[in-house]
Symmetry: C2
Subunit: 355 residues, 2 copies
């Protein structure tokens, strides 16, 4: 079968011919429908994140997949079931406490592998296998958008953890700010809209006309151009934010967002930047954080419960939003187009087969 | 009646003669037993924190009080009841949503006054009045230690908010680090011990022999001398911490504690530093925060529920701990001794009357 891989020493994906995988006990064989491409894939391809499976010189890419069960084997699934795989798998030495209690998303990096990212093959192949416990069912009518379940699940977790951090008091967020107008940022913006935020904002650095700004405004949110309104000035220019979601990976935002938060607000940090030294007014930020009961939560990955919530969320997105967000679904023979990263591209996927 | 006040333009407390206060409807008159002194009092005296009541040139000090109901008026209390007052009161314009729902601790600074600190007189007088809803009953056998309920309540809230921030997953903290060996730090260390932490640590910058180090070790905790082991090196020298409680007001600690946290750990920030610009490796901290699902919560003040929890906590402290922690209880004619701030002083109180 054909697969999209990155080889050691190379910085662009290629197609390789691999043997059809053989399900182990407890695993199903899944025929791949579509696999999304995101910023993490680009970091993996460029060698800035993740790593190859032990002893191998190539990695099958892709962690945002949807497929159809081809061989259920002894699993609770039936052939034809539409499923989405989760991303984390136990490390080589076997399952640990995080996997045993269904919270692999809380495992530290050295206590897990990530399919398509770090130490385990991903889903960009015509077929893949997965243990049944890592497959989440999806209604068939959502199959075409199923590759969005994984990124939505990332925000389900971040929003859940942020709300938990405010659960010791009566917190009713009205204003939300998403830092970053990439596909994850836009998905999260739509989620805040769905969850009843009164006023939402999305920060980017794009000139109009721009398709992401169009989506932001169609969602009823306000576009904030960071070149004109830095994060720290958002409360003065617009208003203070009950919730800030950072999806830029720009390290200054992790600290500047403290100043964008309203009293009792919470920031969720999702970006994974490189080392970068810079100056902050740490005294002022510290005091502001304390005197106004603010909070920050870091969030990575997601577990089955977040995938299940994401399936619900995906089903509630308006059709126009999904149509506008997904700017390209490319067949395997045109896979390179799915890895384009220009200003007309928002979200892409590679299509391996039809339902 | 006599009261301990700070006057505008002065930087040391003095005794003033004030009229006996007259309870308003819903208020009780309380005969003051003892009032504790803490770092905030010193900041208020030095003019670095808080402010005078509107239109006045002096502030009655003290926010850590215990007293006996002298006139219950129409309140649910009876004369002779031992009570502890909470600290926050509505602003001049009247109660707002935070007070209405019993969460004045979540009010931003401009939406509340603080007795003895900011805009409202404190409790360092022979009598004070308070609305019944701001008085928390205390068993009579704890009356002598009742001035510790307020500082313990501060940590009740911080620990509650920190645990809430970890409530979206299975969190079972084993290791706890308190930054700061002042009285609040030591009280918090004893609370972590009470709550079943397996291993606790307390950071200070004192040479042995030192009474705070003796208490730390008597509690079974490990003393960390920050001059030898900076916060960032604690995981290598000792171990990573599931919970860090910052009570130093040293702004670098707010950021360094991210590196002291174990995966999935949470830091509670309590200090209120002055502005201070310094360099951090914001990229590394941001990545560390995200990849290991860490959290930070800022926490200030406390509400009635935290005072009630603090009463329980206080009753469970071992007697030796309270004896060693409280290094001086001084009568009003010796009040200056209660404001001493040397290396043999841990916690002091002014005694206004006997039970």
């Amino acid at each position: 079968m054909e697969a999209i891989v990155v080889r050691r020493g190379e910085t662009s994906p290629t197609v390789a011919d691999l043997p059809l995988p053989d399900p182990e006990p407890g695993e199903a064989l899944v025929r791949t429908l579509r696999v999304g491409v995101d910023g993490t894939d680009h970091e993996v391809i460029e060698g800035n994140h993740g790593g190859f499976p032990e002893g191998e010189d190539r990695l099958v890419l892709g962690h945002e997949a949807v497929g159809v069960v081809a061989e259920a084997e002894g699993t609770p699934f039936e052939e034809g079931d539409v499923v989405v795989p989760t991303v984390r798998r136990p490390p080589a030495e076997g399952a640990n406490e995080y996997f045993e209690r269904g919270e692999p998303d809380m495992a530290p990096p050295d206590a897990c592998r990530e399919c398509g990212i770090d130490g385990a093959h991903g889903f960009m192949s015509e077929y893949f296998t997965a243990p049944a416990e890592y497959l989440v069912p999806l209604p068939e009518d959502l199959a075409e958008w199923g590759f969005l379940v994984e990124p939505v699940s990332i925000s389900e977790k971040a929003i859940e953890h942020a709300a938990a951090a405010r659960s010791a008091f009566d917190w009713d967020p009205e204003t939300g700010l998403v830092l970053g107008n990439g596909s994850l940022g836009l998905l999260t913006l739509a989620m805040l809209d769905q969850r009843g935020y009164d006023r939402t904002y999305c920060l980017g650095r794009r000139d109009r006309p721009d398709p992401t700004v169009d989506i932001i405004e169609e969602l009823g949110a306000t576009y904030v151009d960071s070149r004109r309104t830095p994060v720290t000035q958002i409360p003065d220019t617009h208003e203070a934010m009950d919730f800030v979601y950072e999806a830029t990976g720009y390290a200054r935002h992790a600290f500047e967002c403290i100043e964008a938060l309203a009293p009792n607000g919470v920031g969720a940090l999702l970006g994974v930047p490189e080392p970068w030294e810079f100056e902050i007014d740490g005294g002022r930020l510290h005091k502001e954080f304390v005197m106004n009961n603010k909070a920050l939560v870091g969030s990575v990955n997601s577990n089955v419960s977040h995938f299940e919530a994401a399936v619900e969320t995906l089903g509630d997105f308006p059709a126009w939003f999904l149509d506008d967000l997904v700017t390209g679904v490319h067949d395997l023979d045109d896979y390179e187009a799915a890895f384009a990263d220009d200003e007309t591209t928002i979200k892409t996927a590679v299509q391996f087969s039809q339902i």
